[in-house]
């Protein structure tokens, strides 16, 4: 009894202290060290049960990050032994707070295999498993007096912007953030435009290769806490660094006001897309609409017909002076893990596609863009991207399609593959604002299954009419005529106003991807939008006039009925 009341007294005092400390000016608090959160041994039993059912498969029996899945994951599962945790509120190198680990378990680490466990595990289970994970740490001791932690003060959002998209940061603060970005040389790792294309040689504390974050794909930020556009996450990462990775902290180098501005700049680079809460990825566009153009289609990337805002215009309306009517289609890709030499760690996980077609030229154009941090410097493994079509569209019945990877023995696919090497490029060179030209060769292939992919004997005239590699982004523009001579029935014949299956493939030469070791999409559809019908001009007035006539008739009828009722002819 005595100990119980003593315990509660101690809790009361602790509460008072916290209350007082929280009331102190925040600058003082930032200097204040506190002991690391102790391991709550009473929760270990439940924690162990949860760990061995849910976590052991990736993080391993001892927590060394060497579970059965580990070797096929990029990024690898965390090794808990050293007590190194990325997402914290504590100083660089410090142990994390319990709350940080709880948030990680609850929200998962987007861009890695770590899922969100909220809704799957109860609050108690999450708290317990965090304690168990702490007990797996061998190299450090949460109870050690030297292991005190400094909890940082990040200030608060100076613009008061609101989620989920956090619009409304003034442009001058974003510009100021860019200056801070240049001054602190963030581009050395994150690249000139933040696509993570700065440094190909980085390693984590355990010697495994690691990539700088691509700021233009913030849904893959590990510390996004499923609140992908919140600048707070970036401020936290800049302030605390990421333990175990080359990401240092800038707590003393950049003032907290400037860290928020830098975060605003980083955050402004990420296109606002609708993020699926379950998968933490933008929602796929399963239909690629090809816009009809009068006259020839431009091959200039900067022409308005190839321009669209990065933000989804269903989220942020287009600027009033915006000329184009185009739209970036988001196409997610995954490693080919079905057959042959499987690819569990694709380097590219999405493509952005846009299309135009010309009635005059009778030709269709597809612009495929994607982020790839580093391109190949070895001619044995060129980079490549391909568009896949059903080879004999007219033979397909209903929803029928060829098998989505390289077709099958009965239903061939038509592959337009652009192989390319970058000219005068080195993956370790400093960011080049002018970009690089590509040396492209187009291959047209017929696929009848994984083992039966052959070059066409009579190619259909696919061209790559423009291409560029610029600050970590590849742009390839394909062109082909809608119809071809097609003597061998190997080319897809492209009709307008019809849903046509289309799929994409991508090979990262830098990671030696080749043949079936690649990234793939599922079957999507594309449609060539036709001209607006003429009836759009005359049908609405006709219908309106007819309706007006009906109204007149209604008045006449009603009055007549009334009159008849008044005369006693009807009741």
């Amino acid at each position: 009894m005595l100990t119980e009341s003593r315990k509660s007294l101690r809790q009361l005092i602790a509460g008072l202290v916290i209350f007082l400390v929280a009331g102190l000016p925040s600058t003082l608090l930032a200097e204040e060290a506190q002991p690391a959160d102790l391991i709550q041994t009473d929760k270990l039993e439940l924690g162990k049960k949860v760990y061995f059912k849910r976590c052991v498969w990736c993080h391993g029996i001892e927590g060394e990050g060497n579970g059965p899945s580990a070797d096929r994951l990029f990024t690898r599962p965390r090794n808990f032994i050293q007590g190194t945790f990325k997402i914290r509120w504590t100083d660089s190198g410090d142990l994390p707070l319990d709350q940080n680990l709880i948030d990680t378990v609850k929200n998962g680490l987007p861009g890695s295999a770590m899922p969100s466990w909220s809704g799957i595990l109860s609050e108690d289970e999450i708290e317990a498993v965090v304690q168990f994970v702490k007990s797996l740490v061998q190299d450090r001791d949460f109870a050690d007096e030297d292991e005190e932690v400094y909890v940082q003060d990040f200030g608060s959002n100076p613009w008061g912007t609101k989620g989920p998209y956090h619009f409304g940061v003034p442009q001058e603060d974003i510009d100021a953030g860019k200056e801070i970005f240049l001054k602190n040389k963030c581009f050395e790792c994150h690249g000139g435009e933040g696509r993570g294309d700065g440094n190909p040689t980085m390693k984590d504390d355990w010697g495994f290769a690691i990539m700088a974050a691509d700021w233009q794909q913030c849904w893959n930020f590990r510390g996004s806490r499923r609140n992908h556009f919140d600048p707070f996450n970036i401020v936290r990462t800049i302030s605390t660094g990421m333990n175990g990775t080359p990401m240092p902290n800038f707590k003393d180098k950049i003032t907290i006001e400037d860290r928020w501005k830098l975060a605003a700049f980083v955050n402004s680079l990420c296109p606002r897309k609708k993020i699926d809460r379950l998968t933490n990825k933008p929602i796929n566009d399963f239909l690629i609409k090809s816009k009809r153009r009068i006259g020839a289609v431009s091959t200039d990337f900067n022409d308005p017909m190839w321009q669209a805002p990065d933000d989804d215009d269903r989220i942020k309306s287009r600027a009033s002076d915006y000329e184009g009517n185009q739209y970036w289609h988001f196409v997610a890709v995954a490693g080919q893990i079905t057959r042959g030499e499987r690819n569990f760690k694709p380097k590219v996980d999405n493509l952005w596609v846009m299309s135009n077609w010309s009635e005059e030229e009778q030709a269709i154009y597809y612009l495929v863009e994607y982020h790839n941090r580093f391109l190949s410097v070895d001619p044995a493994y060129p980079d490549a991207v391909a568009i896949q079509w059903p080879g004999q569209l007219e033979e397909l019945f209903g929803a029928e399609k060829p098998y989505f990877i390289f077709g099958d023995s009965k239903k061939p696919v038509d592959l337009w593959k652009a192989n390319f090497m970058v000219k005068d490029y080195s993956d370790t060179a400093a960011p080049n604002p002018n970009g690089y030209d590509l040396d492209v060769t187009v291959e047209e292939l017929v696929g009848n299954g994984f083992e039966a992919i052959f070059p066409k004997e009579t190619p259909g005239g696919v061209q790559v009419v423009n291409s560029k590699y610029h600050q970590g982004r590849v742009k390839i523009m394909f062109k082909r005529s809608l119809m071809t001579e097609n003597p061998d029935k190997t080319d897809v014949q492209i009709p307008i106003k019809t849903y046509i299956p289309i799929a994409f493939m991508e090979w990262s030469g830098w990671a030696q991807e080749h043949d079936e070791h690649m990234a793939i999409s599922t079957w999507l559809y594309t449609i060539l939008e036709p001209d607006l019908p003429k009836s759009l001009v005359y049908m609405p007035p006709i219908m309106a006039t007819a309706w007006f006539g009906f109204q007149m008739w209604l008045v006449w009828m009603t009055k007549r009925t009334r009159k008849m009722a008044a005369e006693g002819k009807v009741k």
Binding site: P68, A334, Y403, L532, P533
Partner: protein
């Protein structure tokens, strides 16, 4: 007339307070107790009844009819969970509209009352109303026609059979398996006895957990990319594929299937599906190319152990209860 305005204000203000105030409180972001939504809806209906009765508003039948119709719309649009597709919404609302009309025309007096303002508008006794209605209706029709003709290209919807009928036999690794009556050779004991066992730690002591551990090891080497670390079909690659990977936690998948069905599906994968199940777009590999027969059975054993489901069986008990198909 005063009462009508009062009633309208109370409806609108009340709805706003309920919808923006109480509804989010009763339905937190993370899915929770689903009955909350319906309790909330009943509270709202009770509110609507209460203010009409307490203030003795005696609203005209047209306002009552409107309220009934909109209450139905609100239920199907926002309260009902999970949300229904718009095609179904239209069907429901047509039925609901008929119901509302029956309510309005239940007796000649209310119907006459309902009809009166309409007739007066048509005949011109309500002059302003007639001008407004007669001018705006043709414009609306013209606009509707324009909308109807304007070409739009929505993402096509494809229907597929999720669990097709299995074949009688399947040939895996050179051996014929008759699916009827085929049992998992590693299901050597009642699964529920191992609920609290640890994979890896108990693998040496318990034969059953040894198989579960081996199955889990294979699952987390091969399957989790699509089916997810939580077996809920939300793996790292899951968002790429259409059809999306199966969610084993859902009661509609492995919980209602026999293990022999799973064996066939795992061994033959997407390419082994019949045409009605769109074999061309399933990303499921034919696992017989990568796994041994025993390994397939162990993965299946693991999936049931992890999710806690039991495979469907066709024993006498369930057929007596009429559970078969």
């Amino acid at each position: 007339m005063n009462n009508v305005v009062k009633g309208l204000i109370l409806y609108v203000v009340g709805w706003a307070a309920f919808h923006y105030g109480l509804f989010p409180l009763m339905t937190p972001k993370e899915p929770t107790w689903i009955v909350n939504r319906y309790v909330y809806y009943l509270l709202f209906v009770a509110y609507c009844l209460a203010f009409n009765l307490v203030l003795k508003l005696k609203p005209p039948i047209s306002l009552n009819g409107l309220a009934v119709f909109l209450l139905g719309f609100y239920f199907y649009q926002s309260v009902l969970f999970p949300p229904i597709p718009w095609t179904l919404l239209i069907t429901y609302m047509m039925l609901w509209g008929i119901g509302t009309f029956l309510y309005v025309s239940q007796d000649p007096a209310t119907f006459a009352e309902f009809r009166k303002p309409i007739v007066r508008t048509v005949t011109g006794e309500y002059k302003l109303a007639r001008y407004i209605v007669f001018a705006s209706m043709p414009l609306l029709v013209g606009f509707g026609t324009y909308q109807f003709i304007y070409p739009s290209f929505p993402e096509p919807v494809e229907l597929r059979t999720v669990h097709p009928a299995p074949p009688a036999t399947t040939r895996v690794h050179g051996k014929n398996f008759t699916l009827e009556g085929l049992q998992n050779p590693f299901r050597i004991d009642e699964q529920d006895n191992y609920k609290d066992s640890f994979p890896f730690l108990d693998a040496d002591k318990q034969e059953y957990m040894k198989s579960v551990t081996e199955g889990g090891t294979i699952f987390f080497r091969e399957c989790h990319y699509c089916h997810g670390d939580q077996l809920n079909g939300l793996g790292m690659f899951s968002h790429v594929f259409n059809p999306t990977p199966a969610n084993f936690v859902d009661p509609g998948t492995i919980a209602m299937l026999r293990e022999s069905f799973l064996f066939w599906r795992v061994a033959k994968g997407g390419p082994g599906l019949p045409n009605e199940s769109t074999p061309w777009s399933s990303a499921m590999p034919a696992w017989e190319e990568h796994l041994k027969t025993d390994e397939i059975w162990k993965v299946i054993l693991f999936e049931y152990w992890y999710t806690g489901w039991h495979p469907r069986t066709f024993d006498e008990e369930s057929s007596a209860a009429g559970g078969g198909e």
